[in-house]
């Protein structure tokens, strides 16, 4: 049997099975979830390149095949889904509606695999809708009043995206007479001549990637879903938007009839990405809830990725895709870590917890590495993507955009520190006294991904290789890459092996020095034992600094916090409803009015025809 069909059968079938498996025990459904995804992953990597699947549906030719570009995203989805479903077994233990959760989880995975293997727009759209619905059902999993509001917001924006995409598909079919993706691109359906089609497709894809101004659903949806799904949501599902944006932009850039409209669209999208990055970062750093913080940070990171893809240069697209892979790993770890904290402590409010480092050391390690990668500090993987993005923008005349990105990355240090300090550092609070480390099935996936982020920091070539192949499929041929050397178009380089060996050598020497020097006279004291500048605190007086963490920053940039995208959409909603109100007046319910409409329409028609 064809491998593609087999993988889809395993995943879709698994989805149905795990719904009924909860009848045995709820736990069985979670385990089945993991086993099914694991077997699909194993099958995916052990079988060679699968053959194409062709069949006809309602007069359209559907084609499923795994190309080199889809392979990147299929890997992201499968690897993340396997590790997250392992994590999910213990995370979801004891929670209600496990069958519902697991079957939708797997449905989301299956539909994402469908999307990356679709070679035509019709099946892409069908899988896209399955993905939207299954994720919607998981967003409203908690079933609270606020949750349903957030769910509706997500659904409305997804619907806007879906309509835009559907319109684009219809237009493509009417202009070039095919819905096959590569054929349509070859015939120039996504080129500057038909600029409306790329715009509509970008709207559709940008909703999932949560680019401004279509991001409004994301903070709520990311933080309200169960964390084991959010890890997949932000890690893999948002990458489907990236997948689409990359295809649209490469088609636009490769088009022979390249026109000014394409450049305008490119600049608009790049600046939208830049503004997304800055504004989301600024909102991330004033959040007190760790989940909300990560949700905003997720939006910001996708802004960078969008810029990279839209830049259209080889280095830029490489940077965008590389950051997409990195971000998948980073956000999966971070959401899993916050989920672990939530499960062990009971809250993710950073003003209520602190000092978890000694209670949950492995979770801290995973979070630390992921945060270093997120901040883009060498020698961890995140730096590679950041470096490539900066160099792209500097070498391709986007001088002011690079400053915007720099502001956003520098401000990202603030929320990076906030989450590490808020959860793990500071004085221990009373309520974390009896907290223990999360179970091994939850810790292991985080540690595995984190450690691989370190490896990629020195050997980014491991990821460049599939990326270069994927880019060749998109039309960016002859992409230069090295196992551990970065290079821009001006020939300036960074040798990552040199960097990481120097860091490791100095670090080890310094650790030996500071540990051995005066070893006997060195002792560890508790976090209560601190200098208080002469004040004597009460026994239970905790001096944790958690409230209004970045208040001075907020004051300095008070202008940035005034605008609100939510208000903008409420205004738009109001405008639409007043237009609808006006349109409704046409339908008076009076037969005579309708008769006038008919007569005047006929008169108009006659006038036009007579001309």
């Amino acid at each position: 049997m064809n491998v593609i069909v087999l993988i889809l059968i395993i995943l879709f079938g698994g989805s149905a099975l795990s719904f009924f498996a909860k009848k045995i025990t709820p736990q069985a459904s979670s385990v089945l979830n993991f086993v099914a995804i694991l077997s699909a992953t194993v099958l995916f990597y052990t079988s060679g390149k699968p053959d194409a699947v062709n069949f006809s549906l309602g007069g359209f030719n559907l084609e499923w095949q795994l190309n080199d570009f889809g392979y990147i995203f299929a890997s992201i989805v499968l690897v993340l889904a396997t590790l997250i479903s392992l994590y999910s077994i213990d995370y979801m233990k004891g929670m209600p509606h496990l069958g519902y959760f697991n079957s939708n989880f797997m449905l989301a995975v299956a539909s994402m695999m469908g999307i990356v293997m679709s070679n035509d727009f019709i099946s892409l759209f069908i899988f896209w809708e399955i993905m939207t619905w299954s994720s919607y059902l998981l967003v409203i999993y908690k079933g609270r009043h606020e949750t349903s509001k957030i769910g509706i917001k997500y659904m409305i924006f997804s619907a806007i995206g879906a309509y835009a995409m559907l319109t684009a598909i219809v237009l493509i079919n009417s202009r070039v007479g095919t819905t096959n993706i590569s054929d349509a691109i070859e015939l120039g359906a996504l080129g500057s001549k038909n600029i409306l089609i790329p715009i509509l497709l970008l709207i559709g894809f940008s909703v999932k990637a949560a680019t401004m101004p279509l991001h409004v659903w994301a903070p709520g949806a990311y933080s309200e879903s169960p964390m084991s799904f959010t890890a997949l949501f932000s890690g893999a599902l948002s990458k489907m938007g990236v997948f689409g944006i990359a295809i649209v932009f490469s088609a636009l850039m490769m088009d022979i009839q390249f026109a000014i409209s394409a450049i305008i669209l490119q600049q608009v999208i790049m600046w939208l990405g830049g503004i997304t990055a800055v504004v989301a970062t600024f909102y991330a750093l004033i959040q007190d809830d760790a989940k909300k913080l990560l949700a905003y940070s997720s939006i910001a990171q996708l802004g960078y990725i969008t810029i990279g893809l839209a830049s259209g240069t080889k280095l830029g697209v490489m940077a965008g895709l590389f950051m997409a892979v990195m971000h998948a790993g980073i956000k999966a770890v971070l959401f899993m870590a916050v989920g672990a904290v939530e499960r062990q402590v009971g809250t993710t409010d950073m003003t209520k917890i602190s000092g978890l480092i000694k209670k949950m050391p492995y979770t801290f390690y995973a979070t630390l590495v992921a945060i270093i990668a997120l901040a883009g500090v060498p020698p961890v993987g995140g730096f590679v993507g950041k470096w490539m993005l900066y160099e792209t923008l500097i070498t391709s005349n986007s001088y002011f955009l690079v400053i915007v990105i720099f502001l956003s990355s520098t401000a990202a240090f603030l929320y990076s520190y906030r989450i590490l300090f808020g959860l793990f550092l500071g004085q221990e609070e009373e309520n974390v006294k009896d907290v223990t480390e999360a179970p091994i099935t939850m810790v292991a996936p985080m540690v595995i991904i984190s450690t691989s982020l370190i490896v990629v920091g020195s050997f980014p070539g491991l990821i460049f290789e599939p990326l270069a192949k994927g880019m060749a499929y998109l039309g960016y041929t002859d992409v230069n890459w090295n196992m551990s050397m970065l290079q821009n178009v001006w020939g300036d380089q960074v040798d990552l092996i040199g960097v990481s060996t120097t860091i490791a050598t100095v670090f080890i020497l310094a650790v030996i020095f500071i540990t051995l020097k005066g070893y006997k006279g060195t002792r560890q004291v508790s976090t209560q034992d601190i200098s208080t500048s002469g004040e004597i605190p009460w026994d239970h007086e905790n001096m944790n600094y958690q409230q209004d963490f970045f208040k001075p920053f907020e004051r300095a940039f008070s202008g940035m916090y005034k605008g609100n995208m939510e208000k903008f959409w409420v205004e738009i909603g109001g405008a639409i409803s007043s237009i609808a109100n006006f349109v409704r007046k046409i339908y008076t319910g009076n037969g005579q009015t309708y008769a006038i409409y008919v007569v005047s329409f006929l008169a108009l028609l006659l006038l036009i025809l007579n001309k």
């Binding site: 000092g355 480092i357 901040a375 883009g376 500090v377 060498p378 950041k386 470096w387 900066y390 160099e391 500097i394 070498t395 001088y399 002011f400 400053i403 720099f406 502001l407 520098t410 401000a411 603030l414 990076s416 520190y417 300090f421 550092l425 500071g426 004085q427 221990e428 821009n488 001006w490 300036d492 380089q493 960074v494 040798d495 040199g498 960097v499 120097t502 100095v506 670090f507 310094a510 650790v511 500071i514 540990t515 020097k517 005066g518 006279g521 060195t522 002792r523 560890q524 004291v525 976090t527 034992d529 601190i530 200098s531 500048s533 001096m543 600094y545 970045f550 001075p552 920053f553 300095a556």
Partner: protein, 328 residues
């Protein structure tokens, strides 16, 4: 003449670690050690000179210029040391790691030489300005983690102030550097030094706005008054460092001194044509160092938000003008 430098600075293709012989490795390590010691000594000495000068300006007698070395010795010989856990134990290690690593990627003298007399190269050719900017944050972030774990609220407040301040001065600094990058189509420090050698014009004259913006950014970078909000004497009890003493504080002090040298050398390399000899380097760096110090003598401390906003007025305008200068 220039081809000589280009040749030395682009040797990366021919010499990989694998075919280096033992002698080369020993030379490299020795040179690296000597550079580190020199950077440390110069940084400490400059600190001492500033303490003395500041005291004279304030009509005090002041400590001797070698006071910093005495302080360091005292710290290293403390019999008891305390820490608050692994991260606070490692905090100073991050600083020294970042300082030494960054130093290895900064050309001290022309041609990427570590020191005159050593015919070996720095690792300079493998890093560019963007890398340096990010590498410099590595230490402060590590230190921030160490300071955070101590549980002292003053440390955490100091760290948040430091990070907030960074969002201020980084922007004019990056604007200045990006202006130079697009003007001369290179991002490597060696490249900038070569260009200045070829044209005979220092960058500070080739793009004056860029230099002004970078100089203004340096005021925040060195954290002298009015930007001494992180340590904030008499307000935050020395901020992030408040829980560190003995060997920990000693290592932090050494790292800080190396960083001071790094920042000064970076400015000299990029804007003032680099240096051909150590005395030349010392004169140029000392002249640069006096700018934040002088400004500090006559300015009272800002509040954090005032400090950040300060960078979004004139420094930002000069930075944007630098870019416009580079384009047109």
């Amino acid at each position: 003449m220039c081809s000589l430098f280009l040749k030395t600075s682009h040797q990366k293709n021919t010499s990989t670690p694998n075919n280096k012989n033992m002698n080369d490795i020993i030379m490299t390590v020795t040179a690296a050690l000597v550079t580190t010691v020199m950077a440390f000594a110069v940084g400490m000495l400059y600190g001492g000179i500033v303490r003395k000068l500041t005291a004279r300006v304030q009509n005090r007698f002041g400590p001797p210029v070698y006071q910093n070395f005495i302080d360091l010795m005292k710290l290293q010989f403390k019999k008891t040391n305390i820490h608050h856990g692994l991260m606070s134990h490692l905090g100073p290690v991050w600083i020294i790691t970042a300082a030494v690593t960054t130093l290895m990627f900064i050309p001290i003298l022309h041609g990427g030489m570590l020191l005159p007399g050593f015919s070996v190269q720095n690792l300079t050719f493998q890093g560019d300005l963007i890398f340096i900017i990010y590498m410099m944050t590595f230490g402060s972030l590590g230190m921030a983690l160490g300071a955070g774990e101590t549980g002292n609220p003053n440390s955490a407040i100091g760290v948040t102030r430091g990070l907030s301040l960074m969002t201020g001065f980084e922007i004019p600094f990056v604007l200045a550097l990006v202006a130079l990058m697009i003007q001369y189509k290179t991002t490597s420090i060696i490249g900038f030094m070569d260009i200045q050698e070829q044209t005979g014009t220092w960058m500070m004259f080739a793009n004056p706005f860029s230099f002004i913006a970078a100089l203004m950014a340096s005021l925040g970078m060195f954290r002298y008054s009015p930007f001494d909000i992180v340590g904030a004497p008499a307000e935050l009890a020395s901020g992030p460092a408040s829980e560190f003493g003995g060997k920990y504080l000693g290592l932090m002090m050494s790292g800080g001194s190396i960083f001071a040298f790094i920042k000064l050398t970076l400015y000299v390399d990029v804007f003032m044509g680099g240096a051909h000899s150590i005395p030349e380097l010392l004169i140029k760096t000392f002249a640069l160092y006096m700018v934040p110090v002088f400004y500090g003598w006559v300015s009272p401390r800002y509040r954090t938000e005032q400090a950040i906003r300060w960078f979004y007025k004139w420094p930002l305008i000069f930075g944007v003008m630098a870019i416009l200068w580079a384009i047109f």
